[in-house]
Amino acid sequence: MMKNCEYQQIDPRALSVLPSSAQNHNEKKVQRPRRKWEVFPGKNRFFCDGRIIVARQSGILPLTLGLIVVTCGLFFAFDCPFLVKHLTVFIPVIGGVLFLFVVLSLLRTSFTDPGILPRATPDEAADIEKQIDTSGSSTYRPPPRTKEILINQQVVKLKYCFTCKTFRPPRTSHCSLCDNCVERFDHHCPWVGNCVGKRNYRFFYSFIISLSFLTSFIFGCVITHITLRTQAGKSIVQAIQESPASVVELVICFFSIWSILGLSGFHTYLIASNLTTNEDIKGSWSSKQGAEDSGNPYTYNSIITNCCATLCGPMSPSLIDRRGFLSDEAIPVVSASEIELPPFTAKNDSHMCTQSTKDVLERVVNSFDSHSLCPPGTPKTSPLSVEVSSATAPSAEASPLAGCSRQQDGQPVAASCPPFSRNSKRDSLHSINPAFRLASPSPSMTRATLILGDVPDLGFIPLP
């Protein structure tokens, strides 16, 4: 009888390995091929079936958009009629064109993949591990690994990214807010709500340049408007009373002009010298030693070439292939490192949902290794019965944990489950879904490395 129970309950999980068998929610998964964005490990959000990518924290993008739209709206509604009457009809036309340009560039910057590098596949990561000498146990974080290479006769250090499990290409940096390595990382812009990197730097630059023009233009027009009103014999106070919106616009433009113009100037300098904000701030190539060696190895030594390279250079496609379909073999056979997720983040299920998709939890529930989460001493039937009950409930994330805690008499799940995640049984399972696998901030599959918690070395902010 016990045997019957046991093997009935193994069936759903065996069937998740062999997708041809029909089982309730496995059916749904097998029938609908999933796209890669659904299992993307970074902290990004996707819209329109993967066509639009934004950072998880949209920052103050709504504020930016709001300010621009409100200011321009006030301008067109209150200042333009007067100016058209007294000056020329081209004023709203120019304003309109600039406004359109600004909004399009802003949206393009926010919604474009900045140059995210996909994380290393398990095979790649293992290959890199083999090439690195590891010393010390895996329970403490080894010193940051670096690799020195020569770029244009200059020594450049490549750092190893513990999250992405690869040596970062030159000029690549890991953004802690988005939890991605970004090529030619400039900075993470909260105004735009996205990282600024190789693929969207030109959009960002055109945004700030056009915004400088727009704010200067509106500022100038509003000043002209008020001046014209006062010239008609009224005092300034009267003029302002007739057109209060102009004051609002003046204030907004006045305060933004300094920062926007400053930023535009700064980025123009960066482009002309082929630098990124990141490199400039860190002083990576500053010639403080006065030696030739510490010059920027990426510059073409010509302002025009540098500008062309950055702004008009070839537009590389997105490397993360958001809308590609997951290949069949990538559909989960879940490895234990993914199963570790719920125990580690028992309190943060909602975060895990958004970070590594709800499929993580579905798979955990369906996985046949979840019994490894619970103490080995407990009889097989009890964790499995817990597993089945959780498998049938759609919002099942709490159930395996609840089950575990039941087993351990109310001990906190997070405390007791992690040790069992290093169970040797884990190694017998092999996840073929690299992107999904590497979503978990958990010990890597090769024991030789790394950290529990897997903190990348650039100020990674762990999940709150």
Partner: protein, 154 residues
């Protein structure tokens, strides 16, 4: 018995791939180039000249894609003037070359590598980080079925 069969299925793992990774070569900057060093693991499987020729051709194709030529400049200026909306209807030069590269790799796999039980993976599938040569047969299904269009929806 049915039970043991299920347990064996559970413990079944896919065949471990013998894969060789060729890393990027950054000596000339951040341009996409791969190291032409011939990996020792492939010594018995393929001719060194042949392999190096493949990698060299690949490097040339990537150079062409990333070249700062007149075509990319015109494309860039046009895009800037149209607030980058032109990319919604036009394929970039880079994407065109990537398609050429995909075709080239497929050709090479068909003619040279598959008969020797090897498979080259298009580097774009590994984020242009590595160039992978593996002997795992089930990969034949995944890499070749990649539809180029899926790369470029942005």
């Amino acid at each position: 018995m049915a039970e043991t069969h299920s347990l064996q299925d559970l413990r079944q793992q896919p065949a471990v791939a013998a894969k060789v990774f060729l890393q990027r070569d950054y000596t000339h900057g951040t341009m996409c180039q791969f190291q032409t060093k011939f990996p020792s693991e492939l010594e018995t499987r393929i001719d060194k000249q042949q392999f190096e020729e493949t990698v060299r051709t690949l490097n040339n194709l990537y150079t062409e894609a990333e070249k700062l030529g007149s075509q990319s400049l015109i494309e860039g200026c046009l895009a800037c003037l149209t607030a980058y909306t032109v990319f919604l209807c036009m394929e970039t030069h880079y994407e065109k070359v990537l398609k050429k590269i995909a075709k080239f790799i497929q050709e090479q796999n068909d003619k040279i590598y598959a008969p020797r039980g090897l498979l080259l993976t298009d580097p774009i599938e590994r984020g242009l980080r590595v160039y992978e040569a593996g002997s795992q047969t089930f990969q034949l299904v995944t890499t070749k079925s990649r539809v180029p269009e899926t790369l470029y929806l942005d």
